[in-house]
């Protein structure tokens, strides 16, 4: 049975519709990547799945007793809060030293259990977040742009780690990313999101889909597309997202081909 099923999910903030009529299910063991420009509702989608957001309409159902490992986009730790890596790993449920050590190893960090969270580098910090997400032996690992702030080799190494972890735990992975070239190849399924699901399918299928190209450009299969999203359009969606294939929203967005 599916781990998570979304039926007709819509989320509105104030008057803005961030997500409309999203249907999606995630099966055990599959890797699903969500791509989409800024403001396309990627984080909103993930936050609806973990239960942090109430849908305005539609339905989010999780498999009974579903264990989710969640790696947030960024985690700000107030400087007044002293927190060692070891203590962080025991939040909210206390874990044994051995288990904590295992998780850190799985996430590919060195021995840094006694270090303060605030002293970690960006790459170490993300790996500690990953280690914490692995502690409850998750059936579904959710990563929200987990490599933000990492340089290219850093994020490539991080995704490598995810692949390793997934192979060990055999869990499903749902992740959101800008970094299409790194992420797409490893995915079973890619979902192209822009307020609604524009297109979905296998990476090759999505990369060649006109909807995807409309959002991310066409050069090198969209692998090196640089997407610029000018924030001059309002998401009041007076224009309803019903204008057929292509997702050519004329949002004032420009796509630029770096490769050319």
């Amino acid at each position: 049975m599916s781990l998570v099923t979304l039926k007709g999910l819509s989320v509105r903030y104030g008057g803005n519709t961030v997500l409309s009529d999203v249907n999606l299910s995630i099966e055990p063991g599959e890797i699903v990547t969500v791509v989409g420009p800024n403001g396309s509702g990627k984080s909103t989608l993930l936050r609806s799945i973990i239960g942090a957001l109430k849908p305005s309409s539609g339905d989010v159902s999780r498999a009974p007793g579903l264990r989710i490992g969640y790696v947030p986009q960024k985690l700000h730790i107030d400087p007044t809060l002293p927190l060692t890596v070891r203590r962080f790993l025991s939040l909210p449920a206390s874990v044994s030293d051995a288990r904590a050590e295992d998780a850190l190893q799985q996430a590919g960090t060195g021995p840094l259990a006694e270090r303060q969270m605030s002293d970690l580098s960006g790459g170490q910090f993300q790996r500690v977040l990953l280690a914490r997400a692995l502690l409850n032996d998750p059936q579904l690992l959710i990563l929200d742009e987990a490599t933000q702030g990492l340089d290219q080799p850093g994020s490539a190494a991080f995704y490598q780690q995810i692949a390793t972890v997934r192979a060990q735990l055999d869990c499903a992975v749902l992740m959101v990313s800008h970094e299409l070239h790194v992420v797409m190849a490893a995915s079973d399924r890619v979902i192209c999101l822009n307020g609604h699901i524009c297109c979905e399918g296998e990476p090759e299928h999505v990369a060649s889909a006109p909807e995807y190209r409309a959002l991310f450009g066409t050069g090198t299969q969209g692998a090196l597309a640089l997407y610029r999203h000018e924030h001059n359009h309002s998401h009041d969606h007076a224009h309803n997202h019903d204008h057929g294939p292509g997702c050519d929203h004329n949002h004032g967005a420009t796509t630029k081909d770096m490769a050319s």
């Binding site: 239960g51 969640y70 730790i77 007044t80 002293p82 203590r87 939040l91 909210p92």
Partner: protein
């Protein structure tokens, strides 16, 4: 033991330590979550509770607890809706204080006692007060103890809490109730104007010496208790008002701790 409690100084010391022990760990959350003004608003509103309790002839504790709870709940629900919090809190804190002061002035024969509610009157703590203070403090500590992990997770990041099946809004409510309780028991000891100091200063003083949240709460409790006992002693020696003297001592400890930390960092760099 009962003879010991006959001494007003022993009762004052016990009252001070009781409040400090409950205020310190809660104060850590106030610091971590940047709720300093929140504590102020709740404390200042409690003078209105005093006025209401006096006019309706109920216990001060009940009146203060009720108004603090209303104020804290109002503020925390408004904060979730994304108002400009500092302005709003400033308006609410000070207008609650002003309305409270005006309301008290309408009451016959109370005017003389006003100072006791603004700055506390720890030397006048009776046995019944002591029971209320330790009962309230124990309740706060129990609440924090039971919810500690969930509170910490929610404080760290609401989404992490949600993903772990914790409702951050409920944890916020736990803190709100605990805050109202601390205000209600502390009013006799330091008065409404200085309650926030008792929450914040020990926690801030403890920060440089702690590497985990638990240790920070423990050290803050020790510092708070020392400030209460030392302040009482100093107030007795120099014949100064007790509540403010306790806060003064806590502030001096904070200054020493910050200075020590700065020097230590400089030495590490140099």
């Amino acid at each position: 033991m009962m003879d010991l409690l006959d001494s007003f100084l022993v009762r004052a010391a016990l009252a001070g330590v009781g409040v400090a022990l409950a205020a310190a760990p809660l104060g850590c959350f106030v610091v971590w979550r940047r709720m300093a003004y929140f504590g102020d608003a709740t404390a200042h509103a409690s003078i209105l509770g005093v006025a209401l309790a006096l006019s309706f002839d109920t216990s001060i504790f009940a009146g203060v607890l009720a108004t603090s709870l209303v104020m804290a709940t109002t503020v925390s629900s408004l904060s979730n809706r994304g108002y400009a919090m500092d302005t709003l809190l400033g308006v609410m804190a000070h207008s609650a204080l002003a309305f409270g002061l005006v309301a008290v002035s309408f009451l016959q024969g109370v005017r003389i006692d006003l100072m006791a509610y603004l700055f506390g009157d720890i030397l006048a703590v009776g046995r019944a007060d002591l029971a209320v203070i330790w009962g309230g403090a124990a309740l706060v500590l129990l609440l924090l103890w039971a919810r500690w992990s969930a509170l910490l997770t929610a404080t760290l990041n609401p989404d992490l809490a949600y993903a772990a099946g914790i409702d951050p809004k409920r944890e916020q409510m736990v803190l709100t109730v605990a805050l109202a309780l601390v205000v209600a028991v502390a009013i006799k000891v330091v008065g409404v104007l200085l309650i926030a100091a008792l929450l914040l200063i020990p926690a801030a003083t403890a920060r440089p010496f702690a590497n985990t949240p638990e240790r920070m709460a423990l050290i803050a409790a020790i510092i708070g208790a020392l400030s209460a006992l030392g302040g009482l002693q100093l107030a007795f020696t120099f014949d100064t008002p007790t509540g403010p003297t306790i806060v003064c001592l806590a502030a001096v400890l904070f200054a020493a701790s910050s200075l020590g930390d700065t020097l230590r960092r400089a030495a590490m760099r140099g």
